[in-house]
Symmetry: C2
Subunit: 363 residues, 2 copies
Amino acid sequence: MSSTSRSSAGREPSRRRPRVLGGDGVPTLATVADEAGVSRQTVSNALNNPELLRPETLVRVQSVIERLGYSPNRAARQLRTRSSHLVGLRFEPAQEGTSNALMDRFLHSLVEAASRTGHHLLLFSGDPADPLDGYEDLLRSTAVDAFVVTDTYAGTPQAGFLQDRGAPFVAFGRPWDDPRADHAWVDVDGAAGARLATEHLLDQGHRRIAWLGWERSSRISQDRRSGWEAALREAGVDPVGLGVRLTDNVDAARMAAHRVLEDATVTAFVCASDTLAVGVLHALAERRVQPGAQVGVVGFDDSAAAQVTWPGLTSVRQPLEQVAVELVRSLHRVLGHQPVEEQGRMLEPTLVVRRSSERGWKP
Amino acid sequence: MSSTSRSSAGREPSRRRPRVLGGDGVPTLATVADEAGVSRQTVSNALNNPELLRPETLVRVQSVIERLGYSPNRAARQLRTRSSHLVGLRFEPAQEGTSNALMDRFLHSLVEAASRTGHHLLLFSGDPADPLDGYEDLLRSTAVDAFVVTDTYAGTPQAGFLQDRGAPFVAFGRPWDDPRADHAWVDVDGAAGARLATEHLLDQGHRRIAWLGWERSSRISQDRRSGWEAALREAGVDPVGLGVRLTDNVDAARMAAHRVLEDATVTAFVCASDTLAVGVLHALAERRVQPGAQVGVVGFDDSAAAQVTWPGLTSVRQPLEQVAVELVRSLHRVLGHQPVEEQGRMLEPTLVVRRSSERGWKP
DNA sequence: CGGGAGCAGTGGAACGATCCAACAGTAGAC
DNA sequence: GTCTACTGTTGGATCGTTCCACTGCTCCCG
């Protein structure tokens, strides 16, 4: 109703014709503004700062938006605000056989968590030989607002690179011993997980509990191992000679388990991954030893394999849904340039008990 | 060098200053043009139509681009060209236990294939109750160039919706019996896969080979089953009474296998999924029957579970890398509005033989 | 009654790329 | 010598949004 005076330069009548409908018939801000009898800015405010509008104007604009099925053009918005609402994640080429099933669950959770704050996930790939490939280009072209970095094993340069570059990112994985690192991170407490596993086996009456982990260079494995070791010591069991290091591979674990089982006093295994635990199960099958009933086995990651393997593999489960939520929360703080109240956040894993560690179980 | 006359209203001298450096110090097209002593359009041509430039100009511009580390701003380009170089994929919430490990391998392949043509993958999620949620919004806001649709089981409305909407997309999965469908698709020949599996077991000397599949409503299962049935008939074996339908679940398969094995003449199983095959392995373990040596088992999808399960599960492997490549190729044709030379493309699976089907094997 | 504050809303400019029409310069044809 | 064709390059306009400075208008206070 409130028809205000509309000033017009009036020099050249048909030169500057405000385009009111996009080329393909897609409505734009101008379409909505025209239809609702307000200016473009008012429509923009209706979307981004609704509290600035008088309630009745807001309702009117919103109903036009609804009726026309208008959504703001992402490219235009991105160009103006310099924010794409996209989060980049480099998706490494899969290595078959290893437990990247973890990735699947994590990815789902991340997509969902991000979408709750209006963000989408942009997957990209890069030259496997160059762990930094792809990042630079997305940064320069301002295609993403931030990155999520997933592999922060010792020696991976992504976090350092992005930090030096001044690019916003959050890491899934603590920076371990890099003293220069001061970026946001979220991680799961591997030591606590291994401790859970070990204490569970101790509860089942096991004493001499072996550890199967990765090479010494893996900080993740060292971390988990420390939980096993501490739990054993607290129970008065000497862990010396019970720890084995090998590559993350079913067959390597199978053979290692055979060697360990030569020592008849060993009655249980805690493993740094489900892959290794599955290898132990293979060895038990070959020795015709009942998992659970005779020898307890616990894996790590609660992968799909753990869930379907016979007779059911007890495993430490990472709270990936919660990790995703925390990552997104962190991302928001980083992007909002808010003071980072805490640099990192450590989450607690849980133990999913299945029959491979249930002593009472008989097939 | 070329100082041309610069028209200026003259009222306020410093109003129209052509910004040559982005706010954050990020170089823009204008920066490069200025530095190379050419116009913006020439730089743009150097990137998009290099053949239009004189070779020496091209080299000069390229060296400046290299030196400044310039990449065109994606938002600006997207706004002007109406193309985001993003491909949307709705990433469904994971259902634990089912074989979406397939998805992991597929996703990797797709990201890689897409990146080879300069496209990135945009993952989004939506209300699980509404299979169309999310698509509309991305279309309206012109956030993606196209979609990849992965679940085209009977009754899923995505393909129909996008087709009616006139949105570009490619489906992984044939349109089955929808006569209205005329969109591009890529699929794997399930019947051929089941035939491979069945013939392999026949070669191993098995005759009465059972089928474990999903409910009758699943077209995918029906398709695979038809391959098993045909192979059996050609070998002169009557498949009647050898087929079982159940839900895709380890325990359901385990119990079904027990029932089937009451009939002592059955010596092998072909399954519509690895999940079902793992269930059969569980049943065999409970009966203390050797997989492979006594009863042959073949699964479908070559999931991580198949690869680590003891004693190794023979499985039909889908050529997902090739699927991804074909999908991207199709997408290109669809986006380029080229005449679609073929509407769909059917790829052949392969059989990965492991010990669960090797008759000679002894533990 | 004049003036500062606050409110709802306006029009122009800007983001950084590409599209477009036009331009200078050269060569070839008449 | 002029006209046409062609090549390489140019400046201006444009895509759709948000930022910015500003305008009427009302209200309140001294």
